[in-house]
Symmetry: C2
């Protein structure tokens, strides 16, 4: 009996693992990243693999039928290696990469009045310094400070020890004509500054001075590489957060991070992700990472804790406490970011455990914090957060909607990538669907916008009733009773890329209803809390990846968005990274985000009976209280007549 | 022909070195530290060793007679190994260690009005914090800040990333009863503070809160371990600066440090010295180095540059420029000091290349900066620095006196350690000396106070004339013409511990005259510069190791000190470390040192014709202008009559 075993994945080079290792661990050694939305707890069933030769021990068979087991299927995270094995990884289970497309730089307009030298904390200052002499023996650092005072009005400046070691040589190499990179203070009250670097040359004025805005989403990380002088964004890159291999939602990430041997692993992964994105952006803009002198970072509280490698365990359990909410000023070298080592990394403030800097920054960039209109700002990504208010007041909450709209918790759910059904129309007479697939070709699943559209259409066509039950008595092969009670077949095996039916089941619909009910109940609680009826909302601003492709009409039809005129809805894209970008350009914007964070009143929903009531009432299509959805009632009537 | 050779030093284990290595390098490998006052340049002759077997190649024979060479003597730094050799190291050339005795703690009185909690920047604050709940979800860091605000009035406090990682656990481990160690800001203008550490317990009130005052002398490093709460010094330790093996004076150290492969070596050595002294002090006071939360450091400019590993090369050559003069606030972890890693290390300000923080701190502790009396403050250690002034004005200069008074540059000179002649009286009739030897026993050389006394006595006895010439016509075997012109034998071979004559030569006397003339010319230039006649000085304060044992009468007789009543002279011991100790106890004292540094007018002597004239006039015993030394004239007359 040997203590190590050979594991071979498809065509990859075999790896050796000890008895007791899981296939997930073996896959990692082989360089294969398996999808693990649940963080390797054997709950989600996404890491299923097929054992082709040899035997493994299944710690759990949850999510596997006897037939699956008979055919050799196993959950990699629950599969214990006890001998040599050969494993097949089904293609659709590999983590898709590079699905989030980089945007072109021209897509960001420089905001009016945002980019002036006096608003920028990082400045490049050419200096001509009087050389020392027997008549003026002033020390190098005082001489440099004197020149900065005379040239740039900087009265008080600090210097790090590594810089103090270098300045003597640089001043002389440049024959006392040098360029200082300086970070001025964040506020007008203090006049202190910091020397970031010194160069023995003068640069051409046109040379950009680089900064980056970074949004760390649970799913996607985005970077905007910006010229701090002109305000122009010269490259935008985005990429899956590499942490995703250890859990798709924040809770799974916290659980992973809290395990003894995992300390620092998630930090390393997100920093690798950011560094990769920076490298790609730099290649595009002909910049060098070490020439980036400032970063502003946003993300939800958990992402920010993990970025700084701060234990996040207390966020997970009642009373849900962050270690920090305040904005942080850190140096790139403290985080192994590939920026200039002295570059300030500004982490914007969070409000509560589930209302992060993505929301405070989004409140700035969406405009809710500056408008007179009563506004709902929604950011539904992997989590659902929302802000109700205007320039005078804001209330905020987060609801554990779950990732159903990202395709998780749904049998044939998937992310909005190639092969996903993103749009569905159903003929109310024949019940036949008409679908649009991302990238064209045959479908292999349903993404969020497809699920919303499908649910709305099924409801309007009468396939699904207001409780979400599928009418299995209809005269169509599309409706049938499957493993999970009633189901509707969106695409039959012959029409799909993987040769299996794509269905939506009663259980899927229940999950979607719970997700939409949680979000709807969120606004109801906020609105009732401040006495603002939902139908008086003057605008709804939607940020985050969720909002970018959904159809407002369909979302209203299922009761996910409130029943308002379509022109009241505005899709803003990634409001989080845009807020970071504003703070990158302008110190007043950064202060503004701090003010916004201080101004927001956080409502904790998990302790709120009103939320539970609102949630229960919203578990219907479109809602128990039809008076909230007059246009949907009208549409339903028309459909039934037509 | 092999490329490595075996070198054996006395009874040490043989070492292997490649062809071309020097005996100094081989000795270092063998763990033997050779004296190298000149930094291994072959100039001082102090690293002489005897080749017992084998042959070495002498790069230079400076300082060696043909007889010496015949007997196998060689300068280790100039001796190139080209074959196996066996070497004898004469005992007196090994670097004496532990000669500087640690003082007892009781020897420092706590200065009046210096030690109050409100003057101390580092404080230990016990906290009882309201635990979080669903009603109060404030994050950990804000909660801690709130408690510090309520308990200690601290409005604004920063935290390092490593601390931010720890607080969540500590707060919960202590069940929300914790102790914060906080560094308050240095001034009243800003109210910012820094969290140094947090503990999950409350400490007994009597437990000391430790700090250290550190004086880095070119020769000796001193540490005072202090309880910041009571102000009591609980241990004082002192030790040779380990850098001494690479040069006895600052210039040799700069030369060594500037060589390509030596970067960081001297920093490492001084930090090792400090850490060793801290460890010894902690053992004595039952403290732990990591419980020391604050350090204040003084030293001359070169010592401070080397401590921070900042290139000091520009200090050495005209126009003699420091990289920094300003006080620096560094963290212990940036320097590998064994204090608490977050402990602030305050480096006090310097004034110019050769007027360091030892002088600015000394100006504080000596009292010159607070007195109405016209005062001369003298600190003659390895260098000679001085300040003239009072509470309203101060001028300062440094003179390159050279280390003659520390025994260097004098044939039988040595440091003030066991075996050194420290006092001499000469019978004006017989010319026979009467000597006192440190530690009793037979002498082996002359230390500074012995040299001063000897020169004064030789002058008064008429053995030496006012120009320093030895009268070789006198009828005594003590006076003779040796290798270096005239010489006087202080002790014959039979009376000495090493069996060789101890002499003072004409060349030695020239060196001593130049050293004393440089110092005297220093005050003359300062005094003339501000129009204060020397005989109007109301007090002379003498700090540094030099002053501790010399005889004022003798020093006046040779024209080293001005001719004032003896009661005007006050020997203060190590004014530098005492100034650091004051700054350690009291933030106002630290500010005061900064003000003093800003107030001092530095006079650069090397560019000053007045200095050259004053120096030339002072190259006599006691001086060309005898009206400056009326009591010496009188004494000389009495002696000749007697």
């Amino acid at each position: 009996m040997t203590s190590t075993h050979k594991v071979t994945f498809d065509n990859a080079a075999p790896v050796e693992v000890p008895t007791g290792a899981t296939l997930t661990e073996a896959a990692a050694l082989a360089g294969i990243v398996l999808n693990q939305p649940c963080g390797g707890q054997g709950r989600c069933g996404r890491c299923v693999v097929k054992v082709q030769q040899g035997e493994i021990r299944r710690r759990s068979t949850l999510r596997l039928s006897e037939g699956d087991i008979g055919q050799g299927y196993a959950l990699a995270c629950q599969a214990v290696v006890e001998g040599d094995v050969s494993i097949h990884v089904p293609p659709q289970e590999k983590l898709e990469r590079r699905l989030v497309t980089d945007l072109t730089a021209s897509s960001v307009a420089i905001p009016d009045g945002y980019c002036y030298a006096e608003h920028q904390t990082v400045q490049r200052i050419p200096l001509r310094i009087d050389p020392p002499s027997m008549e003026d023996q002033t020390d190098d650092w005082s001489r440099l400070q004197r020149s900065l005072r005379q040239t740039a009005g900087i009265d008080k400046i600090s210097i790090s020890l590594p810089m103090l070691r270098k300045i003597g040589q640089i001043l002389r190499d440049g024959d006392w004509e040098v360029t200082a990179i300086v970070e001025k203070s964040q506020s007008r009250e203090t006049d202190s500054a910091r020397l970031l670097d010194l160069f023995p040359i003068h640069f051409p004025k046109e040379k950009p001075l680089w900064g980056v805005a970074i949004d760390i989403g649970t799913t996607t990380v985005s970077v905007w590489l910006t010229n701090l002088i002109t305000g122009q964004v010269l490259a935008q890159t985005a990429e899956y957060n590499q942490q995703i291999q250890h859990g798709e939602d924040v809770i799974s990430r916290i659980i992973y991070d809290s395990k003894e041997h995992n300390e620092g692993v998630l930090q390393k992964l997100v920093i690798e992700t950011i560094n990769k994105l920076i490298e790609r952006a730099c290649q595009r803009a002909k910049a060098k990472p070490e020439e980036i002198y400032k970063a502003v970072v946003v993300g939800n509280s958990i992402m920010l804790h993990l970025l700084l490698n701060i234990p996040a365990a207390t966020i997970r359990t009642s009373p849900f406490i962050n270690v920090f909410n305040e904005s942080q000023h850190i140096l790139a070298r403290e985080l192994d970011l590939t920026l200039h080592p002295e570059a300030p990394v500004e982490v914007l403030p969070t409000v509560a455990s589930y209302v992060g800097a993505d929301i405070t920054a989004g409140a700035l960039s969406s405009g809710i914090a500056d408008t007179e209109k009563t506004t709902l700002f929604l950011d539904v990504g992997t989590n659902g957060e929302m802000v109700l208010g205007n320039k005078d007041w804001m209330v905020t909450c987060a609801c554990s909607a779950g990732p159903a709209f990202e395709g998780a918790g749904v049998v044939d759910g998937m992310r909005a990538t190639k092969g996903a059904i993103e749009e569905v129309w159903i003929n109310a007479d024949t019940y036949e669907p008409n679908i649009r697939v991302i990238g064209g070709g045959k479908p292999r699943g349903l993404c969020g916008s497809g699920l919303i559209a499908l649910l709305a259409e099924l409801f309007l066509a009468g396939v699904v009733d207001k409780s979400g039950n599928i009418n299995t008595t209809l005269n169509t092969p599309r409706v049938r009773t499957g493993a999970h009670e009633g189901e509707y077949v969106v695409a039959f095996a012959a029409e799909t890329s993987h040769g299996k039916d794509i269905v939506i089941t009663h259980v899927d619909i229940d999950n979607l209803l719970r997700a939409k009910a949680a979000i709807f109940a969120g606004y109801v609680v906020l609105a009732e809390g401040v006495g603002v009826p939902l139908n008086t909302l003057e605008q709804v601003l939607i940020g985050g990846s969720f909002g970018q492709y959904i159809n407002v009409e369909k979302a209203i039809e299922i009761g996910l968005l409130p029943d308002l005129p379509w022109e009241n809805f505005h899709f803003l894209g990634n409001t989080a990274v845009r807020g970071a970008y504003y703070a990158l350009l302008n110190w007043q914007s950064k202060q503004r985000v701090n003010e916004i964070a201080g101004k927001m009143t956080y409502i904790e929903l998990s302790a709120d009976n009103a939320f539970y009531d609102a949630f229960m009432s919203a578990l219907f299509l479109p809602h128990t209280d039809l008076s909230l959805f007059p246009t949907v009632v009208k549409l339903k009537e028309q459909n039934q007549q037509g």
